[in-house]
């Protein structure tokens, strides 16, 4: 109970050595919509639920998976507006890197810089941590890569990962299904099946989003009809 006295100020440690605001931020992430990513041998796929608050919302105007550079894409779990700010900052950083070094930014560098931004917001006055965790998927000279960035600013490289509401079930499912030799199409099917596990209602091309990057190193978000094709194959 001593923790509650330390939970209002971001920049104060609690007696147990935690920054309680970051714990709360992770809770915000944990109550967000499920998203997941899988690294295949020849590419990466990321996917998320796209549950809209009402059937009246125009789903074509909502895009959760964003492109940061032509070969890096990102999906989030948590607070949408926070992710917009991070996406904007990351794009700018990628562009600044390119202007300085005339080289497309490597995935690890971009992840590191995004994580630095997120960490800055845990150690400054008058700001709060970001309420999102990001899954960054990219393909550069080191091959396909998948990273998760948390509100605290820590980042991890994953072979397959999930975040959001259904995280424990999804991760168990992924642990069983994941193989190192998986190819991109298999990875997409596995991603769909993992999303189906915890999905409430009827899954369709309109209420999930899938982004993938293959050997061509171009990140693309699949259109609803392309998602439908994959859904039918996965049946």
């Amino acid at each position: 109970m001593g923790d509650s006295q330390y939970s209002f100020s971001l920049t104060t440690f609690s007696p147990s050595g935690k920054l309680v605001q970051i714990e709360h931020a992770l809770t915000a992430v944990g109550s967000g919509q499920t998203s997941l990513g899988i690294k295949a041998s020849n590419g990466v796929v990321i996917a998320t639920e796209k549950k809209l608050p009402s059937i009246l919302v125009d789903e074509a105007s909502v895009q959760k998976i964003q492109t940061l550079t032509p070969n890096i894409g990102v999906v989030y779990s948590g607070m949408g507006p926070d992710s917009r700010v991070l996406v904007r900052k990351s794009r700018k950083q990628a562009e600044q890197y390119y202007r300085l070094y005339k080289e497309p930014i490597p995935v690890t560098q971009l992840v590191r810089e995004t994580a630095t931004v997120m960490q800055e917001f845990t150690q400054s006055g008058g700001v709060r941590p970001f309420g999102v965790s990001l899954l960054v998927a990219g393909y550069d000279d080191k091959g396909p890569q998948l990273y998760q960035v948390d509100p605290s600013g820590s980042y991890f490289s994953w072979k397959a990962s999930a975040m959001g509401k259904n995280v424990s079930n999804a991760k168990t499912f992924l642990e069983k299904r994941y193989t190192e030799e998986m190819e991109l199409d298999d990875a997409v099917h596995t991603a769909i099946l993992t999303l189906k596990e915890g999905f409430e209602g009827q899954i369709s091309g309109k209420n999930i989003e899938i982004g993938m990057i293959g050997n061509d190193r171009i990140f693309k978000v699949l259109s609803p009809s392309e998602v439908e094709d994959y859904l039918q194959e996965a049946e």
């Binding site: 904007r88 794009r91 562009e95 600044q96 390119y98 202007r99 300085l100």
Partner: protein
């Protein structure tokens, strides 16, 4: 990293902060920057399917040719290219910077860049530097609203034209355009006319020379024809290569190793914190 931040447009009009300082400097004898005639011929014209840009390839440092084959047609966006005359560093830096800004804008909006966007970004930047950034540009491209061709002067003014020339060879090139340009040219006619105009600049202006670069931009496609014409080849290259006379004799070969100079200080103190 602040040097590399994008210059955001200033809020609320012109900032008069430095005007007093400028006044004081001018009274002390500082001459304001005047428009420099630059060693280049750059041209652009609109033809029936889009825009064609052309440039020579000589970079000069006073009376010396610094680069015989430089690139004066700069990439701004997949559908927009920009020729630059003036100080090479200024044109490179300005086009690079605006190209970067356009790329970010494309990410944020999800749309193809428009030529007027590039135009406005360039002219606001040049105006805010009051002519000190010596870049005279011919900007051309094809976007959703059609083909566009603009000229941008170092102080920040712009023109929108069907055919344009800039640089020290602009008069020679404009003479060709004024006599031979007509609306609705085909691609081959347009490229031929542009090449002719640049050649006119190359042969009649000292500041322009070497080769002709051409860039054809149409809806959904662009062709960068680097060194489209080479009207100035090296006339004679000896097949035998260079031979040096045999009067040089090797008298002696001696290698002396350098002696290492090491000073030994007795009883020195360890580094104190």
């Amino acid at each position: 990293m602040s040097r590399f931040e994008e210059s955001a447009p200033a809020r609320g009009g012109f900032s008069f902060d430095l005007c007093k300082r400028n006044e004081m400097l001018m009274q002390k004898g500082l001459k304001p920057s005047s428009y420099l005639k630059t060693g280049t011929t750059i041209v652009g014209l609109v033809f029936q399917d889009g825009v064609i840009l052309g440039a020579d390839t000589r970079a000069t440092e006073g009376p010396i040719v610094a680069d015989k084959n430089c690139e004066k047609i700069h990439y701004m966006a997949p559908n927009i290219y920009c020729c630059g005359a003036g100080t090479a560093a200024d044109t490179e830096a300005v086009t690079d910077m605006v190209s970067s800004q356009l790329k970010l804008h494309r990410f944020h909006t999800g749309r193809e860049s428009r030529v007027v966007t590039a135009l406005t970004l360039l002219k606001s930047h040049l105006f805010s530097y009051q002519g000190h950034v010596s870049a005279a540009l011919v900007l051309g491209g094809v976007d959703v609203t059609g083909p566009h061709l603009h000229t941008i002067y170092p102080h920040g003014s712009t023109d929108t034209l069907p055919f344009a020339t800039m640089g020290s060879g602009s008069l020679a090139a404009m003479a060709i355009f004024e006599s031979k340009y007509r609306e609705g040219l085909t691609r081959d006619e347009g490229v031929k006319l542009v090449a002719e105009a640049i050649c006119s600049g190359i042969f009649n202006d000292l500041g322009s020379g070497s080769n002709v670069d051409v860039c054809v931009i149409t809806k959904g496609n662009r062709e960068y024809l680097r060194n489209y014409m080479l009207p100035n080849p090296r006339t004679y290259v000896s097949e035998k290569g260079y031979s040096f006379s045999k009067k040089t004799e090797v008298l002696l070969t001696k290698i002396t190793p350098l002696r290492e100079l090491v000073e030994v200080i007795e009883g020195g103190d360890a580094m104190e914190e």
